[in-house]
């Protein structure tokens, strides 16, 4: 550079201006910028590798796509094959956070699903408990870890008075010994709901809970857990559908007086006529 501007060899102004224009387009290269660019390529490589490994005969990734397009392309193929239920809600949330804060680390949070499996899990979460009072009552009846989900005031408001008189073990034993199949939907699925609430179904998707801030994407990984997750989904799929129907049933009266919650409790405790819940 010093050779261009030395005084003994004046450079024509026109040439200097051209040089100045070129320099204005240049930026210093920071290590952070290099890391950012190479990270993008690395993420894209990992997304392409997922597609090529699991769907070698499937639709190729468009070379012009970004890594997140490639990841979603892969997950759409996973959904189409019904390997498991993709947790689009979590992915959408992370994606929107990334869009709203491009300089943050949300791209890395989303990219963690290049390693981890974004599978939807069905254990009752704090969000479920906030949305469905019935699930709080159910969980408190059958799971020691959730026994603080209901207060005496709430039970009184709902008109439920007998829960405290029955232990969790007694309730679980009673559910095990009872045939609910004669009950109308969704009460016929109560044993499944109790299993989820107690986290003792033996199915990893039904017994696992997602909580924001406590979940890590690598809980299940593409490399180590895919077959286990697919096998678990085969069992969990009908139960997951029952759970959704059960939630809808509960939601129908969330703002009412708890009639359905009382019905659920009565059926679980064997106090409701009209069924053969005693299994005798």
């Amino acid at each position: 550079m010093s050779g261009i501007v030395r005084c003994a060899d004046p450079v024509p102004a026109e040439r200097l201006l051209r040089l100045g224009n070129a320099l204005r387009r240049l930026r210093p290269l920071t290590l952070g910028a290099v890391e950012g660019r190479i990270t993008e390529f690395c993420f894209k490589y990992q997304a392409v590798r997922l597609v090529e490994t699991h769907f070698p005969e499937g639709e190729r990734v468009n070379p012009r796509d970004d890594w997140d397009d490639a990841l979603f392309h892969f997950l759409r193929m996973v959904s189409a094959k019904d390997w498991f239920e993709v947790d689009w809600e979590v992915l959408d949330e992370l994606y929107n956070c990334w869009l709203n804060d491009p300089e943050g680390s949300y791209n890395e949070d989303l990219a963690a699903y290049l390693t981890g499996i974004p599978v939807k899990v069905y254990g009752f979460s704090e969000n479920d408990f906030e949305c469905y009072t019935g699930l709080r009552v159910l969980a408190a009846m059958v799971n020691e870890a959730h026994s603080d989900q209901v207060s005496a005031d709430l039970l009184e408001d709902l008109g439920i008075y007998r829960i405290g008189a029955v232990t969790i073990e007694e309730t679980l034993e009673r559910v095990r010994a009872t045939d609910f199949s004669g009950r109308p939907e969704p009460l016929c699925w109560l044993p499944e709901m109790v299993g989820i609430a107690a986290a003792n179904t033996g199915n990893v998707l039904l017994d696992t809970t997602f909580e924001w801030g406590e979940w890590w994407p690598e809980f299940f990984t593409w490399a180590d857990d895919l077959e286990r997750v697919r096998a678990a989904w085969l069992e969990a799929k009908p139960v997951a559908a029952h759970l959704e129907a059960f939630k809808e049933w509960l939601a129908e009266e969330e703002e009412v007086d708890g009639e359905k919650i009382r019905l659920m409790v009565d059926v679980l405790l064997g106090e409701q006529e009209g069924g053969d819940e005693d299994g005798e």
Binding site: F41, Q46, V48, P63
Partner: protein, 80 residues
Amino acid sequence: MNRVIAALLTVKPRQIQAVELLHRLYSRSTPPDTATLLQMGPEIEAALRDVQALSGSTGKVVKRCLELSAVPIQSPPNGF
């Protein structure tokens, strides 16, 4: 000469694998296709690890420099 500057001047220039790799990736007329990307994948991952390690080391140097106490210098640069 300031000891810190003297120490920094002894650092030899280092080739950054990621820079050379990025130059190759961006000098193409089209983005790399999937086959090329898969072929270059291990190299990309190695370059990322390298630049992350370098970034970490650089961060440590900067942090330690920022913690240094200010000392007067014998010959201030022109303009001061």
